[in-house]
Amino acid sequence: MDAGVSFQTGKAQKGEIRMDIRANREQEDYPPCKLACPIQTDVREYVQLIAERRFKEALISIRRQNPLPRTCGRICTHPCETVCKRGQIDNPIAIAALKRFAADSSWKDQYKEVVSVKPTGHKVAIIGSGPAGLSAAHDLALFGHHVTIFESLPALGGMLRVGVPEYRLPKAVLDEEIQTITDLGIETKPGIRIGEDVKISDLFEQGYEAVFVAVGAHEDRKLGIAGEEDLEGVVSAVALLRAVNQGQKPKVGKKVAVIGGGNTAIDSARSLVRMGAETVHVVYRRSMEEMPAAREEIEEAIREGVQMTYLTSPVEIRGENKKVSSLRCVKNELGEPDASGRRSPQPVPGSEFSLDVDMVVAAIGQVLDSSFPAHDLELAKKGKAIHIADPGTLSTSRSGVFAGGDAVTGPATAIKAIAAGKQAAVSINAYLKGESIPVVRSNESVPPEKLSSTVVEKTRKFPRCETISVPVADRVKSFDEVESVLSENLAIGEALRCLHCYLGATIDKEKCISCLNCVQTCPVGAPATTKMGEITIDRFTCQACGVCVLECPVQAIDIELQPRGYVMSQVREALSDSHNPMVIGFFDYYGNFGPGDIRNLKENYPSVAPVMVYGLRRIDTSDIFKSFELGADGVILAGCPVESDPFPDARQSVERRVENAKVMLDALGLDGRRLLFVEMPKQGLVDKQQVEELMEIVSDLGPNPMK
């Protein structure tokens, strides 16, 4: 299942959007981040592209899987980070922040994309324009189908628009993302409510051949306690957030209790702080450990003054003059795990207490809108969700109708809704073509392998980048976005923390002579020997440093991250651009260089052709010799400063290799001074003086006689 659609961007850069979601789940070489992502975003790939300053390509990589990159860069719960191998060493890569960086920084250059898709003539209706509906529309449009989105609210976006507050996801950003999707030729019909304005059966009469129902879950569950129905000041979180997000100014109490522990509860609490509530309590029945809300959201809420009242359940809302006056609560203790696997709260007898509040917000989970026209489709969960005949295809009780997202699962994450939308697109496409609908396996993420304590110890720690956010005193005054996008330097530094899971070394057993050099030199201890002397390299442990590739005398080891042969192919390419004199500069990606330095290098030293490598460890003596053989007048090896070198122990061998090469060049009569080994300065790629000295030597020595 790998339906590919090509597209061209405005600047005629070729890319590809693939809808191969959740295919090859069992593929063992998938890095944990990709495996954990419900839409299998190739995280490792785009993180690497960012590290290499290929930002546009990073966005293309993200967009290949994800039609809402700027949204996900801000609000995704990033299951990828939870499983990131770096997390076992120090802290996971800030993947979501990197996604936002790539998407925000390249957005303007990147899209307008020019899509040439052959129309199929099929018509598809999508009900609901949240992340599920939008993603389905996007992928179906790329399949060539004519798509119409029906939305009951005046503007598209679903919960992204009316649920997520502005300070997390600015409407302007959402508008641009939706615009990019609808620009694919998607028809939109806002303000039309299914059931009231049009029935699902009507849609088929109107010529739609398939329908995707992604209406979300927009109705709050009732608290089910006394005082909920009849007192003024009891509000549903969905209604509150919707009003705020639509620019209204709902009446807010001075002292508010928000009941629930999910993201909706936290969104409500942080919004209330911004709307002038003096004290906001989040009342949650379990402890912080079990809280379903994203950890960083909880932390930010606490920073903004929200008070967390854990292990507490509401018992009764009390009122005076028909208005809320207090919330009667009971303390809980945690008992045995329930069906969800979390420990169930048990009330502690005699622990009742009152919270002095004038407003209560119910945020204990959302369900399918009770006004949803049940006669059209079979429902599940006592009418609180749409019944799915087959979760593997998202087909419903009615032929041609598919459903997904919160309307089916109950309140879940945006990325899961996007996954459902993409799955629906694949199902509907097959359905329309009369093909059998591919069954997609469940996307339960597999816990990542555990690194040994030795590996953890031997891996160099690099602190996770700090994102910059607006100071609390300022942010609580408005709904302006709290977090700012990473700077280019921070993003690159963060991307370089990636440990390159499964891009490491592999051994050709036919060639291996069991000399043990890889075993003796690996900085993290990835190779191991069997009793019979066979050597294996643990693919998860390996961090693709490249040391063993050069230590192997018989070239039995190759590596996926910049394989053997990569360096020379780059050298050949660099030398094809002829300058006089011509100097090959091997530069380490881990060097701390500022923005635009490669460009500056080309301007200041047109004679230096840069070849970028992940560590000078990858440059073999023969690469140096061959560069001269191919006509280079000089060679610079510029290593990163020791502070940023992930494998500092391997530095000595690089130095010795260069020293040996100099001796050999002298013996050859080519003069070892043509070879320069330097450490990159704190700013810039090279030290001006050093390069100029080399240039002088090169011009004194005259051109390389190989030319």
Partner: protein
Amino acid sequence: MIILTRKGLDEIEEMIKGCGSLLVLGCETCSAMCFTGGQRQVEELASLIRMKKTMSGDEGEVVEDAIARQCEIEFIEPIADKIKGCNAVLSLACGAGVQTLAKVFPDTRIFPALNTKFIGRAVERGVWAEVCMACGDCILGRTAGICPVTRCAKGLLNGPCGGASGGKCEVSKDRPCAWQEIYHAMKRLNMLHYLKEKPQVKDWPIHPDKVVREDLMTVEST
């Protein structure tokens, strides 16, 4: 294993000067483990030779290959055509490899790129030590696993000579006295009485030597 080092570039150049097309051939057992004869070293040396040839105007193509062991005909045969297609071979093997090539390809010039140093082992990364002289009459059982033939500067069988001081040989201060080491090891192993037995006499083999195992022979060998 056999420990090898590479000859100087000048010496190699002198040998191969004017030879025409040249195959630089690696040997991926002992020589690869000494970082002298693996594919990597082949690439490196071939590159240097090509540059040298360009600089001196010496004509002839330089090609590269490596086989598992140059001392075995079975490993050589698959590249026989490649060898015959060249005017000369620069062998990155020990003397056994070079001589095997010379025997199998009597019409091709075979040059050694390496010096075969000794039978030894890697004692640390980048350091190999001689441990056996292949004397043909092993006495390690009587010397606590330390070979006096190889490791005593004078090769004394019934040492020590008396010239050691502070545990170091009088020949070189870097060199431990093998007999002192043997004495301490024998003492540790309760074997000192061996040293009091009648002096050892060695049966030195006549070179060139040959080992014949009739039980392993198939047809009449030479």
